[in-house]
């Protein structure tokens, strides 16, 4: 390709991209207008002003998560729980109470693979209460840890597993697929109860001492911020110190070298479930947007219609999904069969449809509509202050600018039917995948 032609191609692409973004993206960057700076102690601060309502979303991320557990699987998650159990100054039980009393909403935390985020939404006139509480537990959790609180949160974390996995209808099937793709020792491996039970208080203290400090944290405040917000942050977080960012472990998925099928029975199921999964490109990596476009296009009726035409009455419901994670994602299909039927015909029906998909790429109009929908969905994810704070944290965690929204929209704009076909060809091979076939237990309801 000559230089001139390449330049022409680039300009055409750019023009198309601008046309597509059009009004949808025209205001997108300004939606995440912000000021970002680093305090002397290393605390990364992002301030986003939005005066629609007198509310502020507070999101404090420590850049340490489940993939940094190393030889102590489950530790990051247990520490996340411990952060709500009080300090020397805030007795056990008072943290949540004080937030409720201040009117806080959506108070919670989540342990991702690469970060642990604590978040709440607070009336603007109660912001100081949250800043002080966050500052207090940043500095004083470790000293307040006792064997009793640690032990009780071990129990709670294990119970969370029981709630989420053992007693949820399809969770064990998903877990089975996940554990084949990310086997023991992989940073994405989920800590099972017997492993969590082996953690001890010293593990927790060491983890907090190493990683819970301002130099390993990003604080995002979004909403009706006071003019002197910088002074307030200095007052509450200025005296804090410490925090080391852990090194990033290798995240390559296990190589799936064949068409691996696993059969299992489930007590809670009343219909058969088939999961088919592949390792796929990580969040924001090349191929991630094509995977989203593929999943959306298939879910918009195309896949269900294809299956119904080829295998009438076999599949009750089917979904395709790119489960995006930093560096390494999973693309999977979940297909539910009709009641009292075995799962094998469901897999056959799904395979027949996928064979057709490999032969005939998606329609260009379908892809265009999917892109448009994903653009709208990106804006839908920025309606609320807590959503904005979470999106900013996600971008920062991936090494992007806090207002990377236009680039985020543009990566979808660059996906066409050829890119989707390439994704299918490269990442969804029929002979290298994991299929989990779940049958309802005989006599199920």
């Amino acid at each position: 390709m000559s230089r001139g032609r390449a330049r022409g191609h680039w300009l055409a692409l750019w023009a198309g991209l601008v046309l597509w973004l059009g009004a949808t993206a025209a205001q997108a960057a300004s939606v995440l207008d912000h000021e970002r700076y680093s305090m002397d102690n290393g605390l990364d601060v992002v301030l986003h002003v939005d005066r629609r309502l007198p509310l502020v979303a507070v999101s404090l991320a420590y850049h340490v998560g489940a993939m940094h557990d190393g030889s102590r699987p489950g530790l990051a998650h247990v520490v996340e729980h411990l952060m709500f159990r009080g300090t020397r100054k805030v007795p056990d039980g008072e943290f949540n109470y004080r937030l409720v009393e201040a009117g806080a909403q959506h108070t919670n935390a989540i342990t991702h693979y690469d970060q642990t985020v604590y978040h709440t939404v607070i009336p603007a006139d109660r912001l100081d209460e949250v800043l002080w509480l966050e500052s207090d537990r940043m500095a004083h959790l470790g000293a307040a840890l006792t064997d009793e609180t640690f032990g009780s949160e071990i129990e709670t974390t294990i119970d969370e597993w029981e709630n989420r996995i053992r007693s949820e209808r399809n969770a064990e099937s998903f877990m089975t697929m996940w554990e084949v793709l990310f086997p023991e020792g992989h940073p994405f491996q989920h800590a099972r109860p017997d492993v969590i039970a082996r953690l001890n208080t010293d593990d927790g203290r060491g983890f907090v001492r190493r990683h819970y400090g301002p130099a390993n944290a990003t604080l995002v405040l979004a909403g009706d911020l006071p003019d002197d917000v910088g002074e307030r942050l200095e007052r509450y977080f200025g005296p804090r110190s410490g925090g080391t960012r852990p090194s990033r472990p290798s995240l390559e998925a296990a190589a799936v070298t064949r068409d691996l099928r696993i059969a299992r029975a489930a007590t809670l199921s009343t219909v058969p479930l088939v999961l088919v999964g592949w390792p796929s490109p990580g969040l924001y990596d090349e191929g991630d947007a094509a995977a989203d476009v593929l999943a959306f296009t298939l879910n918009a009726g195309r896949l269900a219609r294809l299956i119904e035409a080829q295998s009438p009455g076999v599949v009750l419901e089917v979904e395709a999904r790119q489960l995006s994670r930093s560096d390494q994602s999973v693309f999977f299909f979940a297909a539910y069969g009709a009641a009292h039927q075995p799962p094998e015909p469901v897999l056959e029906a799904l395979d027949a449809a996928l064979a057709e998909l490999r032969q005939h790429p998606l329609n260009a109009d379908d892809v265009r509509r999917a892109r448009r929908r994903l653009g709208i969905d990106t804006l839908r994810g920025l309606q609320r202050l807590d959503q904005r704070a979470a999106q900013i944290q996600s971008y920062i965690s991936a090494g992007k600018a806090p207002d990377w929204i236009d680039e985020d929209l543009a990566r979808y704009a660059a996906v066409d039917e050829v890119a989707v076909a390439a994704f299918v060809r490269e990442h969804l091979p029929p002979d290298r995948r994991v299929a989990v076939l779940t049958s309802p237990v005989e006599g199920g309801r």
Partner: protein
């Protein structure tokens, strides 16, 4: 989590003292009054033809969420046609103007959206979210969706079949089975499936396409319809969009049809419903009953009371029994009103203990003044801020307006509810709590392993419970 005043004040003292030390950041002074709460104005306008428009402006993102709330609630179904409203609504999204579902989705797809539909006791809603530039055209498409359904025979049979499969799926959902146990224990209906808008295998089998078409003609009238718009628009432009869309509405012919079912709860059956589920990994304990609806003056106090009881039980279950998710809230819209329940998953071995603690706690609340101003204040403040937070963004605001339209309430309802929350005190909430959570009348539903249920039975008064099999709660499979 609710604490007493002594502990509350002690913590204030402790934090004040620590605040004086070294470079340690000072604790902010504890604020005792309600936080500053503002609600965006709800704009309303009536139109020729008997419709009305609700608008909330939110210019945070260039999106508009829109909904049309019209007739066709499942309360209007004839007893032998259970599931008609829900099935008819589902068919609205199976194709329009003679086209099929995919073609319909493609038309919405041009706006980057997909339509959603739901059915309440009183209404059918259809709604979506689009870029503001597409809003007028999208509202016209939404209007056409209500009136130009294809209703092809193949789609009718497929959707009917899928709904039977959904019933089969629900048979494997212990939380839903537990919810129906609450309906049975509260309303005394046998089987409680009569309260479920999905219908039964038998009623679904009896439905015909002609009944669906007749339902559309009878129920989807412009008169009484509410158009809802929330997001990046002004009232005047929103009304213009609505006027253009309303012109496409076909004129009504014949009577509206449908008679709302109204009956009183049957208080003669036991309120405790035990549902054995062999080998279930974790049991479910649920409790609840009828709740005052939105706009009812009793509702704010009842909602605060429900939140407080949820906190008490969350504390009992999370701290004492280590149930990590504690208590969750659910609501079921029945032909006899809204049933609110709280439920928790527990190890089978802990189920009887949880039931016993629940009953003990509720009995104490009947006989002692347990609520204090501090706990009530914290709860109502949180609810006040929650009301503000519920208006955050076009989609959230649309949901609030849907509630308003569904209950046929005026726009000032939000402000009145906020005022009521400002004025609540512990005595009012205590009275509400005692009325709602009387252990003699409260519905209790337990899904658990049979051995665990034997232990539960021992904690209950003699002859105060009935046992039902899970499959009985959803009607017999066809």
């Amino acid at each position: 989590m609710i604490l007493d005043r002594r502990r509350f004040l002690a913590s204030v003292g402790a934090t004040s003292l620590v605040g004086c030390a070294g470079r340690e950041p000072p604790a902010p002074a504890r604020r005792t009054g309600p936080p500053h709460v503002e609600l965006p104005p709800v704009l309303s306008q009536s139109s020729a033809g008997g419709s009305r428009t609700f608008v909330v402006e939110d210019h945070g993102v260039p999106l508009v969420s829109m909904a049309i709330v019209t007739g066709g609630g499942h309360v209007l179904e004839a007893a032998e046609h259970k599931g008609l409203a829900s099935l008819s609504a589902a068919l609205l999204l199976e194709g329009m103007d003679g086209g099929d579902r995919v073609q319909q989705l493609e038309r919405y797809g041009e706006f980057g959206t997909t339509p959603d539909i739901s059915v309440s006791a009183q209404h059918t809603f259809v709604y979506c979210t689009v870029h503001r530039d597409d809003a007028p055209a999208a509202l016209r498409l939404l209007t056409d969706t209500l009136h130009r359904a294809t209703v092809a025979e193949g789609d009718f049979e497929r959707i009917r079949h899928k709904r039977r499969d959904t019933l089969a799926l629900l048979r494997g959902a212990p939380d839903r089975i537990a919810s129906l146990g609450i309906v049975l224990g509260t309303l005394g209906t046998t089987p409680p499936i009569s309260e479920l808008s999905l219908g039964t295998d038998a009623s679904l089998t009896s439905l015909t396409m002609d009944q669906v078409r007749a339902w559309y003609a009878q129920q989807f009238r412009l008169e009484g319809t509410t158009f809802i718009l929330a997001g990046d628009l002004r009232m005047d432009e929103g009304q213009a969009w609505v006027d253009a869309a309303a012109q496409r509405w076909p004129s009504a012919a014949g009577p509206r049809g449908g008679v709302a079912v109204s009956s009183t709860p049957n208080s003669n059956i036991p309120h405790n419903v035990l549902i054995p589920w062999p080998d279930i990994p974790q049991g479910i304990v649920a409790y609840g009953g009828l709740h005052a609806p939105w706009g009812d003056p009793r509702e704010p106090a009842q909602t605060v009371a429900r939140a407080l009881v949820g906190s008490f039980m969350h504390h009992e279950l999370r701290t004492v029994l280590r149930t990590s998710y504690g208590v969750q809230d659910s609501e079921l819209y029945t032909t006899r009103g809204s049933v609110r329940l709280q439920w928790a998953k527990l190890e089978n071995a802990d189920v009887a203990t949880a039931v016993q603690r629940l009953r003990e706690r509720l009995e104490r609340l009947q006989s002692e003044l347990m609520l204090n101003e501090v706990g009530v204040d914290a709860t109502r403040f949180s609810m006040m801020v929650g009301m503000m937070d519920d208006f955050h963004g076009p989609e959230a605001a649309m949901v609030q307006l849907l509630e308003l339209a569904d209950a046929d309430l005026p726009p000032q309802t939000f402000a009145l509810r906020l005022k009521a929350l400002r004025e609540l005190d512990a005595d009012i909430v205590t009275d509400a709590l005692r009325g709602l959570y009387d252990p003699q009348t409260l519905g209790l539903s337990v899904v658990a392993d049979p051995d665990a249920l034997d232990a539960v039975r021992e904690t209950l008064p003699v002859n105060s419970s009935i046992t039902r099999q899970p499959q009985d709660m959803l009607g017999a499979p066809a």
